[in-house]
Amino acid sequence: MNKQSQIRNFSIIAHIDHGKSTLADRILDFTGALSEREKQDQFLDKMDLERERGITIKLQSVRLPYRAKDGQEYILNLIDTPGHVDFSYEVSRSLQACEGALLVVDAAQGVEAQTLANVYLALENDLEIIPVINKIDLPSADPERVKEEVEEVIGLDASDAVLASAKAGIGIEDILEQIVAKVPAPAGDTEAPLQALIFDSFYDAYKGVIVYMRVVQGTIRKGMKIKMMATGKTFEVLEVGAYNPHPVSMDELSVGEVGFVVASIKNVKDTRVGDTITDATNPAPEPLPGYRKTNPMVFCGLYPVDSSQYEDLREALEKLELNDASLAYEPETSNALGFGFRCGFLGLLHMEIIQERIEREFQISLITTAPSVVYQVYLTDGTSIQIENPTLMPPVQKIDHVEEPYVRAGIMVPNDFVGTVMELCQNKRGQYIDMKYLDTNRVNLQYDLPLSEIVYDFFDLLKSSTKGYASFDYELIGNKTSDLVKMDVLLNGEVVDALSFIVHRNRAQHRGRLLVEKLKKLIPRQMFEIPIQAAIGNKVVARENISAIRKNVLAKCYGGDISRKRKLLEKQKEGKKRMKAVGSVEVPQEAFMAVLKMEEK
């Protein structure tokens, strides 16, 4: 089955809301891949969470037969990409599996920061980029301006850009024709030793890990012994196939083809995204370029509210880990919260998704500590350690200096908000790098910022201070030395380890003050007075008192009230259950996230 010249592999690059999923659905629809019953919106986004948030978390690929206007039958492989910066490595791997990409830009909103980041990734991978101006049926659409923007900002020739409306089904055939005409057919030798690029994998309870891959050289067949070149693990192929979009078994997949491999693989950690599959008996001399192990960037403690659910939480993490090679966790004990796990994530969105899935799919109510980044701590004895939990920060006397991760952030913002955004970046210890006018109205700002500030509340502030007009993206650029201190919080004189955080010395007092004020509002009055203190080492930098509650009893309770009063008492009891006893103080769940939710004044 030598159809190599008829294969076109492409993905879709778009900013959230610019219509990627709708376009993907229309393409499936146009090529006849979906039955009437399946034409439910956003076929590719399988998880509820993805549909709710309008984002793609797990990748999908589909193989679509298409008879082009030249009369020939083509195979189009659409490889879907996640749309968030947390998953940019996954994006880069799926782009590497393609020869072309559709660049979808909203005809009203124009190019956004995220789009830009992914376009650069695509250009790095030498992809043929086909601009698509989507939503041209919107009253506010201005396709000509957006075309200009694509040319000016990205430097792409947009004269042939397809004017489309995925929603209204306009321009779909033009898009497919351009894919056939412009995206190169895959190169490669079907007889060469196997090299297949893994761009995703997921765990299936019946088949084990299902690997999504693209054959770059050679052929993969059922019965073949394969080897993962980075992990060194070998497996026997039980099944190969492709999605149409339903899984269909095939005898083999050859150069340029995209599909899945099943090989009794027990753990997604053995099938790392970016790794190369080769023939174990006739291995390729070297793996495909670009593999790297993704490391978690953001850490937080996850604790069950009900401590008897600790084992349930462990099981939930184990199950999620089956499907998520970038989720890391290890047991952790907190004086305040008991037994839990320190978990590592690719970013904040990844963290929120995992938390939500644990609460939703496994019904475990969680207490989450404020997220932290990984600090590199250089000690006076010449050694260095990595700290991903503020509690573990060594005493000041033992520290020589501390480094924290920095990112280079690109922020696209309308002219009017440039001042506001610059001020925000300055407040967040940002270093100005560059500023470019995209057109007369929009500016692309570049700043280097500590990742910890991004994790803290940068997103929210950026959104609120620009009325939602700013778009934002970042990449890690390594560690820099900072003057950082650990802030402890004491409730009733006892340090609450779960509330400790690391902060820049200049901002410490201010943040300590905000935090104790916030905690005073969140912690209900109890039967005794509770001092709340923020301290650096032994030095208290802020203090508040929660005065004691004097009475709590319903004045009136007669015949008509009984059922209602019981409900009130039940509510009170439920509220208590959601609180965590820290020493003798009952602390509500929200308090542990309070470190994050402090509005700067």
């Binding site: 009475k551 319903l554 039940e570």
Partner: protein, 380 residues
Amino acid sequence: MLSPKAVYIHIPFCATKCHYCDFTAYVVDGQPVDDYIDALEKEIEMTVKDAPPGKLDSIFIGGGTPTVLTPVQMEKLLRMIQSYFPNWSSTIEYTMEANPGTTSSELLSVMRAGGVNRLSFGAQTFEPHLLRDIGRSHGVSEIATSVKDARYAGFTNISLDLMFGLPNQTVEQVRDTLERAVALSVDHFSCYSLKVEEGTLFYHLEERGQLPLPTEDAEYAMYQLIRDYLLQQGYVQYEVSNFSKPGRSSKHNSTYWRNEAYYGFGAGAHGYVNHIRHANVKGITEYIGRIDNGERPILQQNKIDIQEQMENYFILGLRLLAGVSLKQFEQQYGLPADKVFKEAIETLVKKQFLIIEDDTLRLTEQGLLFGNDVFAQFLY
């Protein structure tokens, strides 16, 4: 369950609606009061046919303001009650709620003749500005006048309702109110702290930040002042919010706290008969309509299972400062209380919220102040 020995009848009409009131109560002007009394009669008839009464220990006519009825309407109501509930204990407590200024001598004598032997006046406060600001329709002087009139008409058991924690109320004002109230040497006081309920004018004001309630500490001081002062003046605190001269505690309300059966008649009324709690529909028209259709006007009802009965035994019973009998619990439910509620009782005794003396479990001083924490422990 024993036949009910207590009857509650709700008269959902008032001259005006108070700003804190979330009871079923409608301004009386233009209401079909006579039809309502007829409907009440039919509801009572339907109910007692299925669940005949025992010898009554108490009747309570509450509202609203039952004394907005005309003497003729009142007489009709009281006669009707006598005819359906002829069998009274010799010590029956028969209470009528009243607002100061609504008790003409004619009405008072109709009530006496109908068997009413206890009056409960909604005085609330003796501070004229506060009375106005909470929407009461009477003045301060009418409180004393009404009490005097009632005595003159032969009533020897009189209770006053007082409120504290009112917007702009001070501890000093509470002291002044107490002095003036005690000077009337009434037999009983119910002292409630204001609770802002949804659907009231106060609720809306509070939502908008326009309700200057006293601080929690001030409210606490008011409560303690009330307890201390009334104790000094010879009143016994027998429940969280109720005080009486010795022997004058409310029998009817004790029915609720002892978790015993009672009938509830009228729009919005609640009853507890044969372990079924029910609530009636609240609208006057709906109430009358349902009865005219030959149905009982029940909005919802639910069977109270043994577990909930046992919980209520403590949740309600512990409101009485004399406490609850553990022996009686065991007799009633066939299980020892210290087994069923082992953890709750142990925890609360250890926290010194509860104390066990002989057969009796009761609140300590601290337990009284944190009653909700105590009661919640008994919930499963």
